[in-house]
């Protein structure tokens, strides 16, 4: 009965399941910033090998790691399901995803068939095994808005990965009769709007209310949004045969714009008085998503719309990390009975997170201006690098404090 209802006795996965993915994700963020510093000249050509290497470092290495980590952590809380043997699964997924991303990025840079085949193998293992494990559990439960969104996003992640693998097969020399440009557009749109944006939106349904004591989203809205996006993206996937369906993507983006504005209104009505760094990261993320919608729909600039989408996704990643990481350290130590477990503010100080916020905002601002004044990329990429170094150090420091307390802390024996 409890299984069917999605109610699980187990509460949270081991802390390192999540923090290991976050730590490796932040290293990919750091690498992406270095790539941007040296290769920003290539960004005008979205098909150049350097642009592909940079975008996949961001989407798979950075976003993939953080989003899978967040899913492992949030599924028991938001959906009431617990993945069996999470430690073993997470280690497998973490390393195959990281190795697969490295093979993929190097295969773009060196156009090598062996590297491409290794990328296909490792990424297939990482993505399809995690999609199988997560979706298998999500199919069993009675759904909330968040769990519906998570299921949609994980299924579309699999679809985006399948399309990507198909494209890699073509690069590896396999002959498949398919329109490459259509395939590429589909892969791109499903990955960004089906996987990344959908997962962030579904998480926002719960965490905006939960972290900031803000009003909840209207049930009719949050219940039907995930399935609407899913249907629209499926319709869009037939645009090769029915050309009018290509405009469906604008409807999807308009829905995301509406969500961004709705979230800004909700979060501004929060009851908690504290406006910490995570609150402002959400604000920056949602403003970026709104602006992205305008720039994309009005077809103002591809590079600018890409920059705004990246700003949206990374802002939310920072918002979630600075909230989840200190909480997990405190929560796990407290649950183990350490009465000198560091408090959340001692794990990561709010001032540290605020400094990271300010640096990140300036990085994004200069990144936007750099789309017109290219020399500014040196400044924006350096600031982005500092932001990711700070995030890495915050997560690393949190793990160190956790381990230190495990060894030296005073424990209450139950």
């Amino acid at each position: 009965m409890f299984q069917n209802s999605g109610l699980s006795l187990n509460q949270a996965p081991p802390i390192m399941v999540v923090l290991r993915l976050f730590l490796i994700g932040s290293i990919f963020g750091l690498v992406a910033s270095i790539m941007l510093f040296f290769w920003h000249d290539s960004l005008t050509d979205i098909s150049s090998s350097k642009t592909l290497a940079l975008t996949h470092t961001l989407t798979l290495g950075l976003m993939g790691s953080f989003m899978l980590g967040a899913l492992f952590q949030m599924m028991p809380v938001l959906c009431g399901v617990f993945i069996k043997s999470p430690e073993n699964i997470a280690i497998r997924v973490t390393y195959t995803l990281a190795i697969g991303t490295i093979f993929l990025v190097t295969s773009f840079l060196y156009t090598n068939t062996i590297l491409t085949i290794f990328a296909m193998i490792f990424l297939s293992l990482a993505i399809f095994s995690s999609v199988y494990i997560i979706s298998k559990e999500l199919f069993k439960i009675k759904h909330s808005s968040s769990s519906k969104g998570m299921l949609v996003s994980i299924l579309l992640f699999a679809l985006a990965a399948m399309l990507g693998i198909l494209m890699l097969s073509l690069r590896a020399g396999f002959e498949i009769d398919i329109n490459y440009l259509n395939l590429k557009a589909l892969h791109f749109n499903i990955a960004l709007f089906g996987w990344i944006a959908m997962l962030i939106v579904s998480v926002s349904f719960q965490v905006i209310e939960m972290f900031y004591v803000a009003p909840s989203y209207k049930k009719i809205y949050s219940n039907y949004l995930p399935i609407s996006i899913f249907i629209l993206l499926l319709l869009y996937s037939f645009n090769q045969f029915i050309p009018i369906f290509s405009s469906v993507i604008n409807i999807v983006i308009a829905i995301y714009m509406f969500h961004a504005i709705y979230t800004l209104i909700n979060i501004k009505r929060k009851k908690r008085p504290i406006s910490d760094a995570t609150f402002w990261f959400w604000i920056v993320g949602m403003i970026s998503l709104s602006l992205f919608g305008i720039v994309y729909i009005l077809d103002i600039s591809t590079i600018l719309s890409a920059t705004l989408f990246v700003s949206f996704a990374i802002s939310i990643l920072f918002a979630m990390s600075y909230k989840i990481v200190p909480f997990l350290v405190w929560f796990h130590l407290n649950a183990k009975g350490y009465f000198d477990a560091p408090m959340m503010y001692e794990v990561i100080s709010p001032k540290y997170a605020k400094i990271n916020l300010y640096i990140f905002i300036v990085a994004i601002f200069t990144l936007i201006i750099a789309t017109k004044f290219i020399l500014l990329y040196y400044i924006s990429s350096t600031l982005l690098l500092i932001s990711f170094i700070m995030l890495y150090l915050a997560i690393y420091g949190a793990i160190s404090k956790y381990n230190y307390t495990l060894i030296n802390g005073k424990k209450f024996n139950f």
């Binding site: 009965m1 409890f2 209802s5 006795l9 209310e209 004591v213 200190p326 405190w330 959340m344």
Partner: protein
């Protein structure tokens, strides 16, 4: 009124009182913080009592399990009680940073606990309990005090 409506309303009222105490602490007004915190603590502890003495036993009877989800919820109640003690100490010592840091943990702990109750336990109870029993349960919970 359904079980979910009744108990969820109490969650929201506790959230509001918690936010008031946090706002007072952020201003550094520990007299007001103490007053608001006591309001929050009283309401939360009474809500726990209603669940532990009335709602959980009924739920356990209906599901035939006393070591299932209700055990997890009771464990989380204990965690919240422990944290309340630490927050009270922070108020006594007028340690603003300690209070706000503990408040952050408390909020996440409470919200994820509430979410599990609202989305799973209360929803399941509303499906399993008939209207007459709901009325009896609510009136019994209303009679309780700290």
């Amino acid at each position: 009124m359904s079980i979910a409506n009744y108990l969820t309303k109490e969650h929201r009222e506790c959230d509001n009182k918690f936010a008031k105490a946090e706002a007072a602490a952020a201003k550094g007004d520990f007299v007001e913080t103490k007053e608001e915190f006591l309001n929050f603590a009283d309401d939360t502890l009474l809500h726990f009592k209603k669940e532990e003495e009335q709602f959980f036993p009924l739920f356990e009877e209906l599901t035939g399990s006393s070591d299932g989800p209700t055990m997890v919820m009771k464990y989380e109640h204990e965690q919240v009680r422990g944290l309340m003690g630490k927050m009270a100490q922070a108020i006594e010592s007028e340690d603003k940073d300690a209070y706000l840091s503990l408040a952050e943990s408390m909020m996440i702990l409470l919200q994820q606990h509430n979410m599990k109750e609202e989305q799973m336990l209360y929803a399941m109870a509303d499906r399993l309990v008939d209207n007459t029993k709901v009325e009896v349960l609510i009136s019994k919970m209303e009679e309780l005090s700290l």
